[in-house]
């Protein structure tokens, strides 16, 4: 199994169909793209054609939404097979999904559902990550999700759980800055505790995104520009981890590409200000 730490890629965007043509025509200054894996688990047509063209020009990483690593339902080998076939085509720098479950009994709820932070769940997830990594022949990258509830039976904090999964399953982490901010607000913990609670050497990617504020709780909608509070936390995050591949994640209300490039430039400017030009260039 390939165990080399994924390379630093710089500042990237989620690849969205609305932007295919502009990306190919204008070759905008975006360092890399992240694709939603499931959107390309299809047989033919424009999406795969555009993906192939973009893979010729940019580094690409694969990001799934339905691995359901924490589900107690059996691993879906057809899905894993399709994921591997896509990876053979895309040759991604890494493959990520979420530290969550998406359904049981053959149902997919198309949501990133929370896990109780228990030893039982930890053992279960660690074993499953091992199985998936063996199947794919590479390490997996797992992302912390936003959550709205906590379980009475949880025995540890989210960051303790995330850290133990990474260490025991020997996988990488995708640190979603917005999700930490959302969950910290919803559950009343400090973003700094989470930030300092996960192992620095495991984090290979950041997501930065927007959300919807409902006063008593925040919903992780990915349909707004990144807000000032999340940018502030991104500043702390970059300061703590150093140069890590950073991506703006917008899934709904997709704006013109230029707006997302502006947000990405903002992230780049923050990283430069915090780390200095030399440290950022040295990482590339």
């Amino acid at each position: 199994m390939s165990s080399d730490k994924p390379p630093y890629l710089g500042f990237g965007l989620g690849l969205r169909p609305q932007h295919y043509q502009e990306i190919l025509d204008a070759s905008p200054a975006i360092d890399w793209f992240e694709i939603i894996s499931e959107n390309y688990m299809i047989e033919g047509g424009q999406p795969l054609h555009m993906l192939d063209r973009i893979c010729e020009r940019y580094p690409v990483v694969m990001h799934g939404v339905s691995l359901s690593i924490a589900s107690t339902a059996p691993l879906d080998l057809d899905y894993l097979g399709a994921l591997k076939t896509l990876a053979d085509r895309v040759k991604p720098k890494w493959i990520s999904d979420h530290l969550c479950w998406t359904g049981v009994h053959g149902v997919n709820l198309h949501d990133l559902l929370p896990i109780p932070y228990t030893e039982e769940a930890l053992d279960h997830v660690v074993a499953r990550v091992g199985q998936v990594q063996d199947f794919l022949g590479r390490r997996l990258t797992l992302e912390n999700v936003s959550s709205y509830i906590t379980f009475g039976q949880s025995e540890m904090t989210e960051w303790e759980f995330v850290s133990e999964v990474a260490k025991r399953a020997d996988c990488w982490l995708l640190f979603d800055v917005n999700n930490v901010y959302v969950s910290a607000f919803n559950h009343g913990f400090s973003t700094d505790e989470f930030l300092h609670g996960v192992p620095r050497d495991r984090v290979v990617q950041f997501h930065v995104a927007g959300h919807s504020h409902e006063e008593s709780h925040i919903i992780d909608t990915h349909d707004h520009p990144v807000c000032d509070e999340v940018w502030d936390f991104y500043r702390d995050t970059v300061g703590h981890f150093g140069p890590v591949s950073t991506m703006i994640e917008r899934d709904d209300n997709i704006p013109p590409l230029a707006e997302l490039v502006d947000e990405l430039d903002h992230a780049r400017a923050i990283a430069r200000a915090v780390l200095g030009e030399k440290r950022l260039e040295a990482a590339e």
Binding site: E38, N39, M41, I42, E43, G44, G45, Q46, P47, L48, H49, S66, S71, T72, D76, Y79, W101, G103, V104, H105, G106, V107, N108, L109, H110, D111, L113, P116, T118, E120, A121, H124, Y148, I149, T150, F151, G152, Q153, N186, H187, G188, E215, S216, H217, I219
Partner: protein, 260 residues
């Protein structure tokens, strides 16, 4: 303490069946009651799937209007929990659901609009294949023509409508007022396929539809010409058959031809 398996089962029933047993397993936050917080998952489930169906069935939504479409979508979501990893496939049973649903039984065009939208979506990401070119046909020796068989493009599918659903869809797509729904005196054959990256459809005359359907079964060109002659008269039957064939090639609905 519930096992992880039991907890996930209870959580899922909380979303799918509105079962509140899950509330005993989760906590209030400092700012909000657990029922409201768990409600985020309940609401997101329906909202996400409704959005997917709205994207997949855009013209059906336009035809029914917001309220009726929302009712249809809610009924479909309740009856068809998603069983695929990709949301791309969630709405695939909607045409059959509409067809079987008594509410829509008197409005056959609704199911047919849904069938057309599904067929166009299926063509969009169906397997790639190089279309049959006119040059390849021109290179076929004259004596081989009667035994020639044709391979439909893998994106091609055939529908049969009893209403003017295709005209209604076209009007809605171009954002003009749709015609009144009509039951047609004769069934309307429709061919759906992808040309380049664009999903397309075209109504077929009864004769062309017959020839397409037989060609798709692998019937030889010589026999297709005889069938065309039987269908609408021997006069210029071969010319008619050749003209349909040329149309198929021009519109890239075929992926090849072979002599057995």
């Amino acid at each position: 303490m519930k096992s992880l398996r039991e907890l996930q089962d209870t959580f899922q029933r909380g979303i799918l069946a509105g079962d509140d047993a899950i509330l005993a397993e989760v906590k209030d936050s400092a700012k909000e009651k657990r029922k409201v917080l768990f409600g985020v998952y309940r609401n997101a489930y329906v909202a996400r799937l409704a959005e997917i169906l709205g994207d997949d069935y855009e013209q059906l939504h336009a035809y029914l209007g917001d309220q009726a479409f929302a009712r249809l979508v809610k009924a479909y979501i309740d009856a068809n929990p998603s069983d695929r990893r990709s949301a791309r496939w969630f709405g695939r049973h909607l045409p059959a659901f509409v067809r079987k649903n008594e509410t829509y039984a008197k409005h056959r065009e609704i199911a047919e609009i849904a069938e057309l939208e599904k067929a166009l979506a299926d063509a969009f990401d169906a397997p790639d294949a190089e279309p049959l070119r006119i040059e390849a046909l021109a290179a076929v020796a004259p004596e081989s023509w009667p035994s020639l068989v044709f391979v439909p493009h893998p994106t091609a599918s055939r529908l049969t409508f009893m209403t003017n659903a295709a005209d209604i869809w076209s009007a809605l797509k171009s954002e003009t007022a749709p015609p009144k729904p009509l039951h047609l005196p004769e069934p309307q054959a429709v061919l759906v396929w992808r040309q380049g990256f664009m999903s397309r459809f075209r109504p077929l005359s009864p004769e062309e539809a017959m020839m397409w359907d037989e060609a798709a079964k692998g019937v030889r060109f010589g026999v297709l010409c005889e069938m065309v002659a039987t269908f609408a008269g021997e006069d210029e039957a071969e010319l008619r058959a050749a003209s349909y064939l040329k149309g198929w090639v021009d519109m890239e609905t075929l992926a090849g031809c072979q002599t057995p």
